[in-house]
C-alpha cells in the first residue's frame, strides 16, 4: 500500500517537480564465468539484457554494477566499454548486478510531456461532451492519478492499485503547492519548484495519505 512517486507538470507540459517516495528495486547480483550466457546490447546509453532471461534477470534489465563498482552509462567506472570488457576471458569470473534501470531525469521529462499530450488526446477522443482529460490510468502494477487545476497545472501521483484516498491527496498537494511554492516570493510561475518547505510538507502529506490509505483498505 504504497505511493511510488509524484510529478507536477506545468501548463506547457514541462515537468516542474518530481519526487520518488518509494522505488522498489529488484536487483540481482550474480557471478559469471566465461562465456557469458546472456546476450547484452546497447540501448539508450545503457547496457541491457536482450536475450537469455534467467534466475530473476529479465529482458530489459540493465547492468548496474560490475564487481561491486557502479557502471557509468555504457562504460565501467574506469571508462572501459562494458561489452568489450565482458568479451575478454581474462576478466572472468566477474560479478555483475542487474536490475530495472532507473529513469534518468531526461526520461522523466519526456514521460511527463508524453502524459501531458495523452491527457489532451483523452479529452479529444471522448464520446461524451465536456470530458476532462485522463484522470486515472490503471495497469496491473500501478495506478496513475492526475488532477488538473483551473490554471492548467497537473499533479500526477503513481500509487499501488489498491491505495485509497488519492483524490484527497491530490487536493492536499495542490494546497501545499499554493502555500509553499506560489506564496514563495522567489518562486516564478511555471518554473521548476525548488522550495524546501514544499518538499517537507509534500513528504508529510504523502506519509499521512499512506497511513490513511492503509486504514481504509484494512477496514
Amino acid at each position: 500500500m504504497v505511493i511510488y512517486s509524484v510529478y507536477v507538470v506545468n501548463k506547457a507540459g514541462g515537468l516542474i517537480y518530481q519526487y520518488d517516495n518509494y522505488v522498489p528495486r529488484a536487483e540481482v547480483e550474480k557471478t559469471f564465468s566465461y562465456p557469458l550466457d546472456l546476450v547484452l546490447k546497447h540501448h539508450d546509453e545503457k547496457v541491457v539484457v536482450s536475450f537469455g532471461q534467467r534466475d530473476g534477470i529479465r529482458v530489459g534489465h540493465a547492468v548496474l554494477s560490475i564487481n561491486g563498482v557502479d557502471v557509468i552509462g555504457k562504460n565501467t567506472s574506469d571508462g572501459k566499454d562494458i561489452l568489450e570488457y565482458l568479451k575478454d576471458p581474462s576478466n572472468y569470473p566477474v560479478s555483475i548486478r542487474f536490475g530495472r534501470a532507473r529513469l534518468s531525469s531526461n526520461e522523466k521529462l519526456m514521460l511527463a510531456s508524453m502524459f501531458h499530450s495523452l491527457f489532451a488526446i483523452g479529452s479529444q477522443l471522448s464520446p461524451e461532451a465536456g470530458s476532462s482529460g485522463i484522470e486515472m490510468l490503471e495497469t496491473d502494477v500501478f495506478k496513475l492519478h492526475c488532477f488538473q487545476t483551473l490554471t492548467g497545472i497537473k499533479f500526477i501521483v503513481l500509487a499501488d492499485p489498491r491505495q485509497s484516498g488519492i483524490d484527497a491527496l491530490l487536493r492536499k498537494i495542490y494546497e501545499v503547492y499554493s502555500d509553499f511554492a506560489l506564496k514563495n516570493p522567489f518562486y516564478s510561475l511555471e518554473m521548476p519548484i525548488r522550495c524546501e518547505l514544499f518538499d517537507q510538507n509534500l513528504k508529510s502529506a504523502l506519509e499521512v495519505a499512506e497511513k490513511a490509505g492503509n486504514f481504509g483498505a484494512g477496514s
Binding site: Y4, S5, Y22, V23, P24, A26, G56, R58, G60, R100, L103, E107, L111, M114, F115, S117, L118, I121, G122, S123, Q124, L125, S126, P127, E128, A129, G130, S131, S132, G133, I134, E135, M136, L137, E138, T139, D140, V141, F142, L144, L158
Partner: protein, 171 residues
C-alpha cells in the same frame, strides 16, 4: 450503464471494426484520422506505462523446474506458468465522463471499449467478444478466403454477437 463505442485494431494499427451505440460527441476529425489517433494514443500509453512502471510487469517467477516424472503434469504446469507470467500492462483509463477499457490478445489484436463511469471492469466482456468473434469468424464458410488482417466482413454476425454480449453483461 451505457456503452459508447467499440474499436478493434489489428497489430499493424488498421481498424478492423468500429461500432457506436450511444456516442454524444464526435471527435471533430474524419473517421480515418480518429482511428489513427486512437491507435497512436494506445501505442503511446503502452510505451509510457512500460517505462513508468515502478515494478517489472511480469510477476516474480517462483516456480522451480520440476522433474518431468509425468509428461502431462509437466506440460500442464508449463501452460499454467505461461498464463500466470503473461503481463497485462495497461488496463483502462477514466476521465470525468467516460472510461476506456483495453484488451490486447497475444496475437496483437486490440479491443477498445468506451463506456460510462459505472462500468468498472469490462475485461472479461472484451475477452468474450474476442473468443466469440474468433469462433464465428473462423467458422464461417467464406472465412478461409479472408486474410486475418482484412476488415471483418462478417459484420452482421459481429454486431449480433457484441450486442448480445454487451446487453447481457453491462446493461
Amino acid at each position: 450503464m451505457t456503452v459508447h463505442n467499440l474499436y478493434i485494431f489489428d497489430r499493424n494499427g488498421n481498424c478492423l471494426y468500429y461500432n457506436e451505440w450511444n456516442r454524444k460527441k464526435q471527435a471533430g476529425i474524419s473517421k480515418e484520422e480518429e482511428f489513427k489517433l486512437m491507435y497512436g494514443m494506445l501505442f503511446s500509453i503502452r510505451s509510457f506505462v512500460s517505462k513508468m512502471s515502478p515494478l517489472d510487469m511480469y510477476p516474480s517467477h517462483h516456480l522451480s523446474i520440476c522433474p518431468p516424472d509425468s509428461l502431462s503434469v509437466h506440460l500442464s504446469s508449463c501452460l499454467w506458468s505461461l498464463s500466470v507470467l503473461r503481463k497485462e500492462g495497461f488496463l483502462s483509463f477514466q476521465t470525468s465522463k467516460y472510461r476506456l477499457h483495453y484488451y490486447e490478445t497475444p496475437s496483437g489484436l486490440k479491443f477498445v471499449l468506451n463506456t460510462d463511469l459505472s462500468v468498472t471492469n469490462a475485461r472479461d466482456t472484451l475477452q468474450h467478444i474476442y473468443s466469440n468473434v474468433r469462433h464465428t469468424h473462423t467458422h464461417l464458410p467464406m472465412s478461409g478466403f479472408i486474410y486475418r488482417t482484412s476488415r471483418l466482413n462478417c459484420s452482421f454476425s459481429l454486431n449480433y454477437v457484441t450486442f448480445n454480449l454487451l446487453s447481457q453483461r453491462i446493461f
